[in-house]
């Protein structure tokens, strides 16, 4: 293992161990020692989040752990980001994410944002309690390819269908892929309202987003 690979491995482990001081320290070493920032994000931080996602799916990590892993990732990201070389700033696929109108529960939405950001997407987070038309207007404005809609409550889940109905009415349905998720949502519900995909958790959402855009899905 080269020194650079060692640092990547250590970054990945520190994300998994929720150690934000260590990820920051390691990120600084990456820069000081002249290694590539982008590679450290990709092979270190993103790898650590992916491993955290696996533990989350396996029921070893839960929401508190996943948020702490993300904090560790973001601390190092702040150090590394300014050092990404211009030519490496590849255009990332963009997605809009928000919680439907009437619902201010945004833990699930935030987890999906974290995991898809770590998975290589540029995520525009339009917050919680978002009216159906705003999803569409912002998606157009931001040139997004995917609209991700979340809700926790059975009492507001019908607002998801409204976003898709409005896309149809506005003749924009084929411009965007629509992903839905949240406590009461199921694949059957996603199918019924005409969404392009449903994922049952944040780790799965990354794979779904990639596959909807025809990107390579790891593992």
């Amino acid at each position: 293992m080269t020194r650079e690979q060692e640092l990547h491995q250590a970054l990945s482990d520190a994300v998994l161990d929720m150690d934000e001081d260590l990820t920051e320290e390691l990120a600084k070493k990456v820069i000081e020692e002249g290694f590539d920032a982008y590679a450290a994000i990709d092979a270190g931080l993103a790898d650590g989040m992916e491993r955290a996602g696996v533990l989350f799916e396996d029921g070893e990590y839960f929401v508190p752990e996943l948020i702490l892993c993300a904090d560790a990732m973001y601390r190092a990201l702040d150090v590394l980001k300014p050092h990404i070389k211009v030519e490496e700033q590849a255009v990332k696929p963009r997605a809009i994410i928000g919680v439907v109108e009437g619902d201010t529960h945004d833990i699930g939405k935030n987890l999906v944002r974290i995991m898809t950001e770590a998975g290589g997407f540029e995520i525009i987070d339009i917050g919680r309690d978002v009216p159906p038309n705003v999803f569409i207007d912002r998606a157009i404005e931001e040139n997004a390819e995917i609209i991700m809609i979340s809700t926790l409550m059975t009492t507001t889940m019908t607002n998801m269908a409204k976003v898709i109905e409005l896309l149809n009415e506005r003749g924009l349905r084929d411009k965007f892929k629509v992903m839905v998720g949240g406590g009461p949502i199921s694949q059957a519900y996603a199918d019924r309202i005409g969404a392009d995909g449903y994922s049952k958790n944040a780790a799965e959402a990354v794979r779904l987003a990639k596959s909807l855009l025809g990107m390579e899905v790891a593992k």
């Binding site: 929720m18 029921g59 990590y61 839960f62 929401v63 508190p64 752990e65 948020i67 702490l68 904090d71 109108e101 009437g102 619902d103 201010t104 529960h105 945004d106 833990i107 935030n110 309690d129 926790l152 409550m153 059975t154 009492t155 507001t156 889940m157 019908t158 406590g183 009461p184 519900y189």
Partner: protein, 343 residues
């Protein structure tokens, strides 16, 4: 129904005491387990959001709901924001179709929340509205349920929820201090509702799920503080229903540790299995609210029959009713439930 042996209140209280009754009651407690549907409100003109801040309107709406849906209880309030507002978060009261919601949590972290919370609930205007509505509803044959938000969800409505959840792990001392203070306040709130005439208190704590917290924190925080709250209420002789959201698979060993007079669960939980595993539990639930909102009366009746066959002690929706739920589906549920087994 004239042959009923018990009044709705007697029947529900008997079930909560673990005694037999002529059949299972069918109820909807309010609070998180929302019962205020648009069709009822449009029919009578007693509407939300006005009813959240007007005691008389709140009481009238509770009566409308019982009368039109057939649920055998009165249940108030119609939201989960009374506690958070009384403790200082900013609330949006919503609309006819949207329930009230938290606009801005008061604190950014649990350490910021280590301030003196008001010791008693009584003086707060929204507490007073709920208490006064309960007073107007009490004293008859219908059981009056005061619905309150559990300690974990109240904490996550006062402290930014993402920060709160990670601080359960990272800042345990302060998380426990804040939860202790919140639980003490919730006990005082529940006792105000009890003194106003509530026959039963229902605690719903949707943030306290196995999926969110995992088994370790579910035990360390959810079980601890829900039990502290339930103990504080039950010590006065008032029965307590606890509603747990989500899957129970990762935390099922802890469910029997929750001190309640009935456990209510989400639709994905197989209550028959829970009953056979813990025969001493009084089970409540769990007709799918998705079925109620999007299905038809025939489907609702089929699901009701399953619950009756399982011998579920108290029939109720599995979650809050979507505000667009058709009245005919709810009526199909309550009418079928009242026929009991053998129908």
């Amino acid at each position: 129904m004239t042959n009923d042996l018990y009044t709705p209140k007697e029947r529900l209280l008997r079930k909560l005491r673990g005694e037999s009754a002529d059949r299972a009651p069918v109820i909807c407690p309010g609070g998180m387990l929302n019962s205020a549907i648009v069709e009822v409100m449009e029919h009578t003109g007693h509407v939300l959001p006005d009813g959240h801040t007007d005691a008389e309107l709140m009481a009238l709406l509770a009566k409308d709901i019982a009368e039109l849906t057939g649920f055998e209880n009165y249940g108030v309030p119609f939201c989960m924001t009374v506690e958070a507002e009384a403790l200082g978060s900013i609330i949006d009261l919503g609309s006819l179709v949207c329930e009230p919601k938290i606009n801005k949590e008061r604190f950014a972290s649990v350490s910021e929340a280590l301030i003196e919370l008001p010791e008693t609930a009584g003086d707060n205007p929204r507490v007073a509205v709920t208490a006064s509505a309960i007073h107007m509803l009490s004293g008859g044959d219908m059981p009056v349920i005061g619905s309150i938000t559990g300690p974990i969800s109240t904490a996550a409505s006062l402290v930014d929820p993402m920060t709160f959840l990670k601080e359960l792990r990272k800042d345990k001392d302060n998380a426990h201090k804040v939860l202790t203070a919140i639980t003490d306040w919730l006990i005082s709130y529940a006792l105000v509702l009890r003194e106003s005439g509530a026959d039963i208190i229902c605690i719903a704590d949707p943030t306290a799920t196995g999926e969110i917290l995992g088994p370790r924190f579910f035990e360390e925080y959810a079980v601890t503080y829900i039990n502290k709250l339930a103990d504080g209420i039950r010590a006065t002789g008032t029965p307590v229903i606890v509603h747990i959201c989500g899957q129970l698979s990762s935390v099922s060993q802890h469910v029997s540790e929750i001190k309640s007079d009935a456990i209510s669960t989400d639709a994905m939980v197989n209550l028959r299995n829970l009953k056979s595993k813990y025969p001493e539990l009084t089970t409540m639930g769990n007709l799918s609210t998705i079925r109620l909102e999007q299905g038809n009366p025939e489907g609702v009746i089929r699901n009701t029959d399953i619950l009756l066959r399982y011998g579920i002690d108290i029939l109720a929706p599995a979650c809050g009713l979507g505000t667009a739920t058709p009245l005919k589906n709810i009526a199909a549920f309550t009418q079928r439930a009242k026929l009991g087994i053998g129908s």
